[in-house]
Symmetry: none
Subunit: 414 residues, 2 copies
Amino acid sequence: MNAEVLSIGSELMAGRIADTNAAFLSEQLQSLGFDVTRHTAVGDRRADIRAAIKEIAARADLVLVTGGLGPTRDDPTRECFAAACGVELVEDPESTRRIREMFAARQAPLPASNLGQAYFPRGGEAIRNSTGTAAGFAVRLGRCRFFCMPGVPSEMKVMFRESVEPQLRSAAGRATLVRSLHIFGLGESTVGERLFDLMAEDHNPQVATQVHEGVITLRLTATDSGEAAARRRLDETEAQVRALIGNAIFGADETVTLQAAVAALLGRTGLKVAFAESCTGGELSARLTDVPGISAFLLESVVTYSNESKIRRLGVPAETIERDGAVSAATAEAMARGMRATSGADVALSVTGIAGPDGGTAAKPVGLVYMALADAAGARVEEARFRGTRQQIKDRAAKSGLNMLRLYLEGNTA
Amino acid sequence: MNAEVLSIGSELMAGRIADTNAAFLSEQLQSLGFDVTRHTAVGDRRADIRAAIKEIAARADLVLVTGGLGPTRDDPTRECFAAACGVELVEDPESTRRIREMFAARQAPLPASNLGQAYFPRGGEAIRNSTGTAAGFAVRLGRCRFFCMPGVPSEMKVMFRESVEPQLRSAAGRATLVRSLHIFGLGESTVGERLFDLMAEDHNPQVATQVHEGVITLRLTATDSGEAAARRRLDETEAQVRALIGNAIFGADETVTLQAAVAALLGRTGLKVAFAESCTGGELSARLTDVPGISAFLLESVVTYSNESKIRRLGVPAETIERDGAVSAATAEAMARGMRATSGADVALSVTGIAGPDGGTAAKPVGLVYMALADAAGARVEEARFRGTRQQIKDRAAKSGLNMLRLYLEGNTA
């Protein structure tokens, strides 16, 4: 069964707000087993709305519509569906009664326009709105069923849950399950090459990649006759993916951030950490402290943005900075060792690099970053090169630092 | 001129994310004077994409397209446009050269798939991507012009600003100018009340508010026969707004962040600063260090996440913490004074509070934050209460700290 989403509202064309209703309804439709093929959004011009309704009716089996049901003059959904179906609007007495009751309960005068909300295309069915005056309606055009709901997200969601979802559930035949795997430290093209066969268009589960600020999310969508069969498909493909991608996978489903993965590992190891940051400017600790309860594991962090601060706060030898520079493997190591010694942490992590846009040289270009991790046994250093804006370089450097810590902690839980 | 937006990506059909690209581009198109009539989003099935391209080409004058330009197998935009136009894909040698250079700079092996990103429909024109490997392209189908950009919002926005917007600007007819004013420290309803008359629907310039993470942006959109006339309208309304809102306005147009405003003031005063953070966890310094060249003014920052760290790094008296608690006006003041003394900065700012979700009490609820600013003359403390998630409280506390510093610096430039 092929489904689409239609959103009606001039605010969407103005671009003030993103269409979160379409995202919500799409996710619901997919999890009910529908194949969602298109979203359409139009403003409040009647000709555009009627044209969209007719085109979609010729393509889709089912359409979820939001918006354009309010009482004001520019709320056109009822009218346009009546016109597209070639029928008139007729009153639903039950809806009129409910609107009157609602205003009476509020002891508010009833504007005449609100009674317009009780009129629906002939042949359609009103859908109750338990949170507002704008009732929805269901209507059929050819083989296509439309469910029209309010545009206010909170009202739409209640109406969907109470009245639309139960009807869809009985209509859908198959079970669709979705699973996400989150990856850091590999490029999208590398992931695409390793998973080439699994990403074929007709593979079930479907495997798709999405990149957001350096993190690649693999989305596995399995469809089968029942939930158990769909879950088996997911398990099998996940095992194949893990064999091909390895420990660059840091989380699944809800564990979408590196800091959440690190915090979970700190909880399991009981180790205390401290950070010495330079080019990340506090980003590393800002991200880890997004996790509730992290104060039990993070002792402190020092953003040593000047050489003087590296020397005074962390005991980095002035000669090291003079000889190798503030951005060097030797300085990174001295920062991590110094942070561990002065903080009393079990593990200290340091990051130093060139965030740009200025300050790069041929030998040390913008994006060059050194990270070091010190524990009781010693220190290790990693070099990385990042591209992008200053913010992107700070972000990737902070994520790489968290990832270095994650891999270290994973090695300490085995 | 009639414009549409087309978004390509299975992640949109999966409903995990709302289509913020369509919202952004719609707003840009409107402010350039285009009439935006429809948004369409499709997944990554080639037949669906080709059908959407052809339908839209028959309706629209201009289409902004995002997504489907990555290097992996499920990235189909280039192919589908070539098929819809009835032409083949041909290599753009300049794009190939740029991709090779980019990988060479990273010292990373170049996956063969990435070279596919240098192929575009014959007759199209490559659009340079200065932040990633996925170049865009412009192509014409009948009377309709398509501009295809990457789906990653940050890359798309840079490409739009650098390469697409300038072309659109020359194509639009009437002069529409937009100016933004950014406000921090007042509620949206307060702003709405003060600007009630200016926000009337038929006011020219239109004045609209938009709130994003505590920052209110006023968008003034003036339309007139020529640029000079539109600019006069903007100047006049801006003066009225400034009289009504005062120094809560921290920036205009491109100065969209508090950190940019603070950095500009540091440049003018030449003062050196240092931060002592607790509940913000590094967010304050992470945001200020987003500004290029800030290392000339920010000496260091210490995230004293434990009491021990506050005592050892900043010399906060243990008795103060014991008597008043780590979240108190006295501790905030001692942190700021201690930071100033140990860092050698002219001005030191401290933040301590309860970010939650746990750790609140009736006397000191989640969201209670103390900020202190110390200079040669002494210290001042402010108390604030924020609501929201842990991240929101961290964010608002960091912004309030930056705002306190901004107002202090403004007082020192007069």
